[in-house]
Amino acid sequence: MELNGAQILVRTLMEEGVDTIFGYPGGSVLDIYDQLFQSPIRHILARHEQGVTHAADGYARASGKTGVCIVTSGPGATNTITGITTAFMDSIPMVILTGQVPTQFIGTDAFQEADIIGITRPCTKHNFLVRRVDELARTIREAFYIASSGRPGPVLVDLPKDVMQARMEYQDVPAKRQARKEPVFLPDTADLEQTVAMLKEAKNPVILVGGGVLRGRASAELREFVRKVKMPVASTLMGLGSFPADDPLWLGMVGMHGMYYANMAVSNCDLLVTLGVRFSDRVTGKLSTFAPRAKIIQVDVDATSINKNVLVHLPIVSDCKSALVQLNTMLGNNGLEDLRESRKQWLDQIETWRVEGALTYTRGELIKPQMVIETLNRLTRGDAIIATEVGQNQMWTAQFYRFNEPNTFLTSGGLGTMGYGFPAAIGAQVAFPDRLVVDIAGDGSIQMNIQELATAVKHNLPVKIVILNNGYLGMVRQWQELFYEKRYSHTNISGQVPDFVKLAEAYGALGLRTADPDEVESVLKKGIEASGPVIMDFLVEPEEKVYPMVNPGAALTEMQLGRETGL
C-alpha cells in the first residue's frame, strides 16, 4: 500500500510497542502531528522541549521502557539538548525524533534549521539523519534497538519534512530485525570462578552497586546474590532502589554526601565487588585513596567504563544480570554460609560505624528539610516514586528516603540537571497513573521547569511537588559558606521567588504552605490525599547544610559530619 513518511513513522512506532509520546509540535513536524492526531498513540503535550525530554526520561526510568519524544526543527531540537545529555550521562533509553527542514534546504541556514546531528553527536549514543523515505522504517527500528541494548542511551533521529511527505509503496516488514547486532558481552566463566574464589577468601568484603544494576534489570538477581554471600551492600546515587534500604546488609549511598558507615566500609574493605558502577568523582573522592586496601572486581556492560578512572584487579565485561545469574548458580543453595562466623568481625565493625556515624540532624523552631523527607518516607512507607531536582534537595532525599524497590528514584546523577525532577515526575506519573509520584525540589530548581505545571494539570497527572524552600540556591550557598568565606554571591533568592501557593492556583493546581514543624505531617497528608497536582511549599531552615560531606578532592574517610561526635 502507498504511504507517506509520516504514516510509515507512526506505523513503525506502533510496531515497536510505543503507546505514549512526549512532544511539542512545530512547522517541520506538521505531517507527523497530522498522523498522530489519527493514531491511538497517547501524546503528552509539554510546555517546553526540555520538559518533553525530561518527561520521556522519567517515563523510561520508572517503567523500564524506551522513552519517546518528538519536537520540531531548529529551536525545538536545540531545546532538547539538556534533556538528551541528562539521559546520556545516566544511560537512559530514549528515542528523540526531531523535525528537520526539507533535504534540499539542509545547509542553507533555512528558517528553523539547526545541525542537530552535529550538535547531538557527543551527547547521544547514536544519531541518524533520514535522507530517503525508504530508509525510514529500518532506521527507526535500529534507533529503538540501539537505545535499549547494551548500555542504554538516547538515540536521535532527524526527520526532514520532505521525507515525511514523500510517498512509497510500503510493505509490512518481516519480524526479523534488520538492526545491527550489538556485541553481546557474556561473562567469562573463568573470571566468575575467580570471583567466587575471591569472595571466599575475602575477610572484609563490600558490594558496591550502581545504575547498571537498575538499567540491566538485575535487582532480583542482586538480592539473591546478597542472600547467598551475606556481604554488605553500598550504592552510588544511581544505584539507589536496586537493593532494599530496609535490609540489614544495606549501607546506603557512598561518596561526597554518602553515609559515614558506607564510606568507611568501602575505604576499609579488602574486596570491593562493583556492579554497574563507573567510578564517578562524586563516588570515589580522591582517587589515590579510594578503597586503598581492596582488590576490586568490576562488572560493567560498557568496556570503556572499565579501568577508566580506577584500575581494577578483575574486570568483567558483562551486563549485571548475566553475571549475577551465573554467580548465583555457582554459589549453590548454601552460598557462603560457612563464612558467616569469619565475617562476623567485619559486620560488627560496620555496626560500630553505623552507630557512631548515624545520619542525624538537630530539630529547631524552623522546619528542617530532612524532617520533611523523613516524614514523607514514613507516610508513604517508602512506597512512592520519588523524583528530585539537583542540589541539597537531591542529596537529602538520597540520604533520608528509604528506597526499597527498583526504578522508584528518578534523579539526574551524571549531568546534575536542575529542572529535571518535575517533568521527570510527570513522565513517571504517565507511566503509573495510580501510583504516588512526588518531586522533591528546591525553591531554585523548581522554577527551571515550572511551566510544566500546565502539563500536569491539563493531563490530570496528580504529581506532588514538595518544595524545600530555604530562600537560597542551597547547595551553592553551602559551598560558598564552606569554601568562599560566606560570600553568598547571587545565591540568595529569598524575596525573589514567586508565591508558590498562588502560582499553583494560577495553574489550576492546589497550593499549600507551612513554616511550622508541627504542620509538616498534616500538609504532606493533605497534599498526598488531594486528587490533582499539588505544590507543598515548606519554608525550611535557610542555612541547613548537607552532611556528611567529603570535600572535593579529599579522601572518602575525611568526612565532615557537621556535628560534635568525638570522632
Binding site: 552535529g118 553527536r121 547514536h126 540501539i146 568496556a303 570503556t304
Partner: protein, 157 residues
C-alpha cells in the same frame, strides 16, 4: 610509561559522518592523533581508516574501546609492526641548481622515490616509505632546499 606511536586500523561503515564521530570522540576524551588516512575498501560500503596515535598502552586500549563502542565502527585492529606493511607518502618540492640536483637525488637513493616534475630550478618528488624513512628523507631534503611538502597518513596492509 612507555609512550610511542601505535597504529590502529578501523573498518567503518562508509557513511558521511563517520569521520566526524571518530574525531569527535577522540577530542572529547582528550586523545591526540598523529596522522590519519581513510578510503574505501574492496567493499564500497566499508571504509578503512588507519590512524597513528601516540601514547602508552593504557591510552591506546582506551582509544580502541571508545572506537569499538561507536555504532558505525565494524572492527578495530591494532596493527603489529611485525605482521603488517605500513607506508606513508610525501610530495616534496625542492629548490635546486646545477650543483645541488645530484645531491638531492643521491640522498634519496635508498628510498622509493619518483621525480614527478623537473625544471632547471625545481624538483617535484614523490617519496613512499615507512614513517621513519620519510622522516629521514624530509630531514635531509630540508637541508638541501625543500620549499614545501605534503605528507599523507599511514596506510597498512
Amino acid at each position: 610509561m612507555n609512550v610511542r606511536n601505535h597504529t590502529i586500523s578501523l573498518l567503518v561503515k562508509n557513511k558521511p559522518d563517520v569521520l566526524a564521530r571518530i574525531s569527535g570522540i577522540l577530542s572529547a576524551k582528550g586523545f591526540n592523533i598523529e596522522n590519519i588516512s581513510a578510503n574505501v575498501t574492496m567493499n564500497p560500503d566499508i571504509t578503512k581508516i588507519t590512524m597513528v596515535a601516540k601514547g602508552d598502552t593504557a591510552t591506546i586500549v582506551k582509544i580502541e574501546k571508545e572506537m569499538k563502542k561507536l555504532i558505525d565502527v565494524i572492527d578495530v585492529i591494532r596493527v603489529k609492526e611485525k605482521n603488517a606493511i605500513q607506508r606513508e607518502m610525501a610530495l616534496v618540492r625542492v629548490k635546486i641548481n646545477r650543483k645541488t640536483r645530484d645531491d638531492v637525488t643521491k640522498s634519496l637513493d635508498s628510498l622509493q622515490c619518483r621525480i614527478l616534475d623537473e625544471s632547471s630550478d625545481r624538483l617535484l618528488l614523490e617519496i613512499t616509505g615507512e614513517t621513519g624513512e620519510i622522516d629521514q628523507a624530509l630531514t635531509s631534503l630540508e637541508a638541501l632546499g625543500m620549499e614545501d611538502m605534503s605528507r599523507s597518513g599511514v596506510v597498512v596492509l
